[in-house]
């Protein structure tokens, strides 16, 4: 390419940026692509994981694998493809997060362990995890906050009470009702 004429990356479409990276290993084109989608990948992951740290991890995993994916695969619609990859990575993290949480609860012999829907399904039913994530979004506000804090963010009953300003008994009640509603949603 002429030294006088360099592409204006932010004016190029996704496919053009990908071509630049594939043909010339143009890191600036790749960086432009990442910056373009950074917020959407993070927020979409957050919608599934409901936990900022986990969402950040999942998003970083997406970006870390991007170079290899671009080189290995022919991607026709980058936005749709990236959305799918983000979902897959997020569900992987969600599965791992749930597994860890249930191991903690198991050690404490906490009754919340066996009552939470889908505990048994963690190993081989990933589509159910996505369904669970959506069902959590549809819970009443207080139930949503307690379920998310307890299962997705790994907080204790006491920490939730302090963080959310609820009585301890209310936290337990919201969790109990939330779990019941989730089960109803998931068996529809």
């Amino acid at each position: 390419m002429s030294r006088f004429l360099r592409p204006k990356y932010n004016k190029l479409g996704d496919e053009n940026l990908i071509e630049l990276f594939k043909q010339r290993r143009d890191e600036a084109a790749l960086n432009c692509l990442i910056k373009r989608y950074m917020s959407k990948v993070y927020y979409f992951s957050l919608s599934i994981l409901k936990n900022q740290m986990d969402a950040e991890d999942a998003a970083m995993e997406v970006w870390a694998n991007l170079k290899n994916h671009l080189v290995r695969y022919q991607i026709d619609n980058f936005s749709a493809w990236l959305m799918k990859v983000t979902k897959t990575e997020s569900l992987k993290v969600l599965k791992s997060r749930m597994k860890n949480r249930f191991e903690e609860l198991s050690e404490k012999n906490d009754p919340a362990l066996m009552e939470f829907p889908l505990f048994e399904a963690l190993d081989d039913r990933n589509p159910e995890l996505e369904k669970l994530s959506k069902a959590v979004d549809e819970l009443k506000e207080e139930q949503n906050r307690c379920i998310v804090a307890f299962y997705f963010q790994g907080m204790s009953y006491e920490e939730i009470a302090e963080e959310e300003g609820f009585e301890l008994s209310k936290v337990k009640s919201h969790l109990q009702n939330g779990k019941r509603n989730l089960r109803l949603q998931l068996t529809k």
């Binding site: 390419m1 002429s2 030294r3 006088f4 004429l5 360099r6 592409p7 204006k8 004016k11 190029l12 479409g13 996704d14 496919e15 053009n16 071509e19 630049l20 043909q23 010339r24 143009d26 960086n31 990442i34 910056k35 373009r36 989608y37 950074m38 917020s39 959407k40 990948v41 993070y42 927020y43 979409f44 992951s45 957050l46 919608s47 599934i48 409901k50 936990n51 900022q52 969402a55 950040e56 998003a59 970083m60 970006w63 026709d76 619609n77 936005s79 749709a80 990236l82 959305m83 979004d137 998310v148």
Partner: protein, 255 residues
């Protein structure tokens, strides 16, 4: 050219998400946004920390910035702006003409090629060489052929306003004179019209080519690229020229 997002659907940007966080509400109509943006909206309620900090942290980890933190970003932006202004004031003129800066105008100058006037009136026999020799149109063509585009512009304008407003061939060449003088908006309108309804089929490709050049000169590269890809699919002078321009963008024809 590969499939792009439908143009009617918008993308949510980092700034949108920051605004949602700041105001505590999603102030957009989700149906106007693409599927990815709509799905991402579901995460807004779970964002507690200032999103700027999250983005800075991620950008830092990915090596997209030198240092993290909202403050340093702002400071860097201010410093960059100051440096840019200083550079523009001190060496801008020189740098521009030495080719250090990149502009659509430079690309235009590199790739513009004149198109010989094809007098289809004469071809069709509706006008003869003899009676044409002194009329305004002939003078316009003469000026155009001599690449005196400013003079040709005025003469074509006169011809189109007073002699033959329906002369779509002359209108197309009038468009080229406008393009040359940087009158891009009317030129684009003429080229788009010529491309969609060419007076003769052979004008479709040149109209597409000059339309692409006009977009480039206007710094609307995104609009020029699909036109260039279209032209590059055929092996003629426009196809070869389009391939050259695409190669300047670092792209292959058909990519």
């Amino acid at each position: 050219m590969k499939r792009e997002q439908p143009k009617s659907k918008k993308n949510l940007t980092k700034e949108d998400f920051k605004r949602f966080h700041r105001t505590g509400k999603v102030d957009v109509d989700p149906s106007r946004y693409d599927a990815f943006s709509q799905a991402a909206l579901g995460g807004v309620r779970y964002q507690k920390e200032d999103p700027e900090l999250v983005f800075s942290r991620m950008e830092k980890q990915l090596g997209l910035q030198d240092s993290g933190g909202a403050r340093s970003v702002s400071l860097r932006l201010v410093m960059t702006a100051a440096a840019t202004i200083a550079i523009l004031i001190s060496v801008g003129y020189l740098a521009f003409f030495q080719g250090a800066s990149v502009s659509g105008a430079e690309m235009y100058n590199t790739h513009f090629m004149p198109l010989s006037y094809v007098d289809d009136d004469i071809k069709r026999g509706t006008r003869t060489q003899s009676n044409a020799s002194t009329d305004i149109k002939t003078q316009a063509i003469q000026a155009y052929t001599e690449e005196d585009y400013a003079k040709a512009e005025g003469l074509f304008q006169l011809h189109l306003s007073q002699t033959d407003p329906q002369d779509r061939t002359a209108r197309f060449f009038y468009g080229i004179t406008l393009l040359d003088q940087g009158k891009l908006k009317p030129a684009i309108s003429i080229f788009e019209d010529t491309r969609n309804n060419p007076p003769v089929a052979a004008f479709k490709r040149p109209a597409t080519f000059y339309l692409a050049l006009a977009h480039i000169r206007q710094e609307q590269h995104e609009k020029a690229l699909p036109l260039l890809q279209f032209l590059a699919s055929r092996e003629d002078r426009y196809g070869r020229k389009a391939s050259e321009i695409l190669s300047d963008y670092g792209l292959k024809p058909g990519s």
